[in-house]
Symmetry: C2
Amino acid sequence: MVSAILEEIKKTIVHGLPPRVQVAKVEFEGPEVVIYTKNPEIITENGDLIRDLAKDIRKRIIIRSDRSVLSEPEKAIAKIHEIVPEEAKITNISFDEVTCEVIIEARKPGLVIGKYGSTSREIVKKIGWAPKILRTPPISSEIIQRIRRTLRHNSKERKKILQELGNRIHQGIKYENDWTRLTSMGGFREVGRSCLFLQTPNSRVLLDCGVNVAGGDEKSSYPFLNVPEFVLDDLDAVIISHAHLDHSGFLPYLYHYGYEGPVYCTTPTRDLMTLLQLDHIDIAHREDEPLPFNVKHVKKSVKHTITLDYGEVTDIAPDIRLTLHNSGHILGSAMSHMHIGDGQHNMVYTGDFKYERSRLLETAVTKFPRIETLVMESTYGGHEDVQPSRNTAEKELMKTIYHTLRRGGKILIPVFAVGRAQELMIVLEEYMRNGLIEDVPIYIDGMIWEANAIHTARPEYLSKDLRDQIFHMGRNPFISEVFHKVNGLDERKSIVEGEPSIILSTSGMLTGGNSVEYFKWLCGDERNSLVFVGYQAEGSLGRRIQKGWKEIPLKEEGKTKVFHVNMGIKTIEGFSGHSDRRQLMDYVRRLSPKPEKILICHGDNYKTLDLASSLYRSYKIETKTPMNLETVRIQ
Amino acid sequence: MVSAILEEIKKTIVHGLPPRVQVAKVEFEGPEVVIYTKNPEIITENGDLIRDLAKDIRKRIIIRSDRSVLSEPEKAIAKIHEIVPEEAKITNISFDEVTCEVIIEARKPGLVIGKYGSTSREIVKKIGWAPKILRTPPISSEIIQRIRRTLRHNSKERKKILQELGNRIHQGIKYENDWTRLTSMGGFREVGRSCLFLQTPNSRVLLDCGVNVAGGDEKSSYPFLNVPEFVLDDLDAVIISHAHLDHSGFLPYLYHYGYEGPVYCTTPTRDLMTLLQLDHIDIAHREDEPLPFNVKHVKKSVKHTITLDYGEVTDIAPDIRLTLHNSGHILGSAMSHMHIGDGQHNMVYTGDFKYERSRLLETAVTKFPRIETLVMESTYGGHEDVQPSRNTAEKELMKTIYHTLRRGGKILIPVFAVGRAQELMIVLEEYMRNGLIEDVPIYIDGMIWEANAIHTARPEYLSKDLRDQIFHMGRNPFISEVFHKVNGLDERKSIVEGEPSIILSTSGMLTGGNSVEYFKWLCGDERNSLVFVGYQAEGSLGRRIQKGWKEIPLKEEGKTKVFHVNMGIKTIEGFSGHSDRRQLMDYVRRLSPKPEKILICHGDNYKTLDLASSLYRSYKIETKTPMNLETVRIQ
C-alpha cells in the first residue's frame, strides 16, 4: 500500500520537475516527502515549482542533496563564511551526515537566508549541503542547546523513527470513516490533566496529556489512561496544545510505557514543555515524591517530536490532517484543527486560549476552512468571570508599584515561569522606559530567565508589535538592562537587604521555590507589597494569604516558624492568559464558520455547565459537557 | 487469590456443617460453590443449613455426592422407580458421571421432588446420585431435547468451562471501583441490534447482543463490535435479556470469534433464543445470504450458557452481582439488576418490558433493593403512542373473527413465533371454550408450535392465572384440541381450500415464511380477513398492505406475479409485548427506589428524545439519550 502511494508520488514529482533535475530518491520522512537530488540548487532556485508540486501531491516537500554532491565539511565551512555576511553572526556550524544538511546557527538567521532565500540557495549551490538555519538566542538557552544536541546526536535514530512513521501515515485507509468519537480522559468538568482521545475507524490520536499539579494523589493527578479503549500500541499520534504541565506533563509517561509514535506541537511548545517537564521531575525528586518517569523519557519524547508552524497542514494519520493555529495563550500555544477522512468531519480543539491581543501574543485565530465540532476551554466560563481590561490591570499594577516604592518598600510578584512572567516584563520595561515608574532594579529569579531565553529564540511567535519592536527598533525587552538575573542565595539576600526594587520569582502560587523565600524575608515589613497577578488555587499558600491570613507557619532551616504578614497584599486581575467569560462568548460569536456542536472542557463543573447553557441559549448551537471517562460521538 | 478465597469458604462450610458430615471437596463451578460429600443425605435433609451457609459465604451452594457413595446405575434406576410414584410419569433417566448427578425427566417433576423436596432427598439417600429433575414438556420439543443432549454429551467440557469461569469470577478485585461506564454498541436511537457494554475498572460485561433483522446491510444489521474499548478476550460475561433476535441474534458471532466466557439468561431464554438463532441461520442459508456464523457457534453458546431463575443473586465477575427479574415481555424475558462493587453502584437494564399483566405473563417487576441508574426501552416512547386496553383489543379481534366467519371467510393472522402467537392462542382458546367465537379449527403453522413446546416446558415462567389453570384445573391451553399443527404443503393447501378457519402463521410482518404463502392464496377472496396484531416495520410487505396497496407483485414458482388484495385488512393494536407510552411513564413513577439517572434505549430517535424529556419534566430525574458508539459514565 505504502509503496504504491510512494510510487504514484514519485511519478508526479519526476513529471513536475525540469528534465535536467536528477531525482536520486524520494521517500517518506514522517508526514513529509523528501526528494534527494544531485541538483538541489535547481529546485531551490524555483520556489514556485516546489509549492505547486506540494499542492499536487498534498504533502509537504523537503529537498535534500544526494551524497555525491556534498563538499568536504572544512571547505564547506569556509565557503559559508565567504557567502554569509559577517553581521549574521554565525555562532555554530555542524553537519548532519544522515540528512545531508548543514546546520547553521546564527544571531541573525534572516541574513543567512537572505532576501527571498537567495543566500541559502547560494550555499546549497556551492557546497551541496542543504542549509538548516537556526536562531542563536540572544539569551543563551540551556534547554534549546540540549534539544539541538539530542537531535544532532540521534540523527540516525530519528531518521528511522520518521521513516517508520511515514510508512504508517501513508498506509492508506482500511475502514470507511463513518464515525468519529472523543473520549474525555482528563480535564473535563475540572482544570488540570487535560487529555482528550480522538478515535476514528482508522486511527487514534491523543490531544494533550497533562497532569494536575494541584492533585493530591495519583488518582486525581494523572489522566485516565486505563480507560478500556486506550491502547498505547494503537496510538497514531499525540498533539500537545501548549507547554503548561496540565497539558504536557504526562507525555513522558507514554514514552516510558512503550509509546513509539510522534508528538506534534510548535517549536516553542517543544522547548518550553521540555523545560517544564524536567523542572517537574527535579522538584518531585527533591520533594522525595518521584514521578512515574524520568529524564530519559523526556529525551525520548524530544526525539519523537515533530514541530509544526502555525498554518502548516500535515498528515498525521491515514485519515487525519492536522493544522495548528495560534491560540494566544502562551508562546507557541495552538488550537488544533483536524480534518478527518475525506471531508467527513472537521474539529477544532482550542486548548487554552486568549481571545484578546496581549503584549506578548496575537489574539486567538477565529477563521477555519471548516468546522463541525468545537472543543473549547471554560476556565473563566462562569457568568461572573468578567475581568477588568488589560489597561485597568496595568494601571492598578503601576499604582501599587508607585506607592510601594515611594514608601521605600520592595514589590514581590510571584509568577508562573512561562507566560505571565514575560507579559509582566514587557509591561514593566515599557513603563520604566517611559518614566512611568521609578527606575529601580527588576530582579528575575528562577526558571523565568530560561523561559525568556526560549521566547527570544522564537520571536516569530510573538505579537506583531513586539516583533516590530525587536526587529525594526532593535529593542528586545527581554534583554533590556532594567532586568537582572538573580544567581544564588547570597545575591537574593543582598537584594532583600538592599534598596527598593521589584522582584519576579517563581512559583506563582507560593507553593514552593524562591518566591516563598522572598516572602519570608519581606513579609514582616509593612512598606513592602506582595502582588498576585495569577490564579491562586485552593490549598495554596497564595490563596491563604489572599484570604487574609496574617500568621503563616513555614519551615525555615528544618524548623517551623510563624511568619507575621505585615506587608501590603494586592490582587490584580486582568493579566490572565485565559479568555474571560465575555471573550469566550465573543469567540464563538466570531468563529467562522459556525460549529454544529460544542464540547466544553477545562473548567470547574459549574463553569462548564454555565458556559454550555449560555452558548446554547445565545447561539442555538448544541453543547455537550461530558465528564471524564465519557465518550461523545461527533460524527 | 482464588485459592485463598476458596480456603476461606471451605473453612466456613466445614465449620457450619454438623461434624458427622464428611466434606470430600469444595470447588467453584461457575458462580456456584459445589460441596462434594459422602453424606449428601444429611445436608439435603436440612435445607435451612444450606440456606444459612449460602448467606454466610454469599454464594449459591450445590451439594453433590462423592463418587464413593454412588450406586450402580441399574440399581439406581430401579430404586428411583420404587421411590417415585407412577403418576410422576418419568420419561427418561440418565447419569452424569462428571457431576455425579442423575437426570430425571418427568411429565410431573413436582412429584419427583415431593413435598418440600422429600422424594428427591429420599432418592439421594438411597442411591447417592443427586437428582437433577427436569420437566418433560407435554408437547415434545426438539430444541429442548437437543439442548439437553448437548449438555449431557459435553458434561466434561462444561465442567471445565465452569471451573475456569469460577476461578475468574473469584480472582478478587484488582482495582478500586471508582467508575462505571456504559458504551452503546447498538440499539440506541433505533430499534434492533441491542447491545450495551458495561465497564468497570475490574470487569467488562455485554448486555444483549442482537441483530437488526430489518437492516439492509452488515453495517446497519450488526452491533458496533469494532468500538475500540470492546476486546473480546477481556469480556467477563454476556447477559441476554430475552430471546428475540434483536437482543440475542449476534451472540453466536462472539463464540465464532473466540469468546470463551459465559452467557447468563433464564432457561426459557436459552431455549427460545437457540430456536430463533437456528431458524435465522436456516433462513439466511436458504436466501443465500449466509450469516457470519453457523450452527456450531450456536452449540458453543449453549455449552457456555448459565441459566438463572428470577431473583437468584449471582456473582458474574469479581465486582458484579447479577439478579434477573421478570420483565413481562415474552417467556423468560428479564430485567438485569447489577450490583457493582461493594455497593458503589446499582443499575437496572430493562430490556424490553411490559408494564401490564398479560394473559401469558405477570407484569414487569418494579421493586429493587437499590438502583442508581436505569437503562430503559422506549419502543412506544412517543407521547402519541397510547394503545387501546387489552380488553378493547380482544373485543376488536373477536368482532373481526365473528364477521369473517359469518361470511364464510378465513382469518389469517401473521405472528412472530415467540410471544404474540402464544398470547393470541390463549385468548382464542378461552373465547372458543366459552362459545364467544364459533367453533372452527385454529391452525398453527411454522415455528410457533416449537415455541409453544418451550412454553409448556416452563410453566413456572407463566402468569399465575395461567399456571393455576394448567396445574390446578389441568387445562393447558397450548395443548387444547382447538389447535391443529400444520405439517407440510399438502395440509396447507387443504386448509386453504377447506372450511372457514383461523390461521396463525409466521413471519409476523409477511417478510417471508408461510404467512406469505397463505396471503397469496387467500388475498383474492373478499370474504377472508388479514389481521395484523404486531408492529409492521417500514419496508415490510405487512406495512405496505397496511398502507392500502392493492396490487402486490410476489414471486411464485420462480416468476413474479401480481396479487390483487380483495380480502379485508384489519390492524388491531393493544396486543403488544411492549409498554405503551402511559405504561413507560407509569413504570418509572412506580419504580422503587427512584433511580438518579435514566438512559433511554430501544426506540426511534424521536421517541427516545420525547420519552427522555417527559420523564425529566415529570419526575426531575436526569435523563440521557446516548447515540450508538457513545459512552456514558454512570458512576
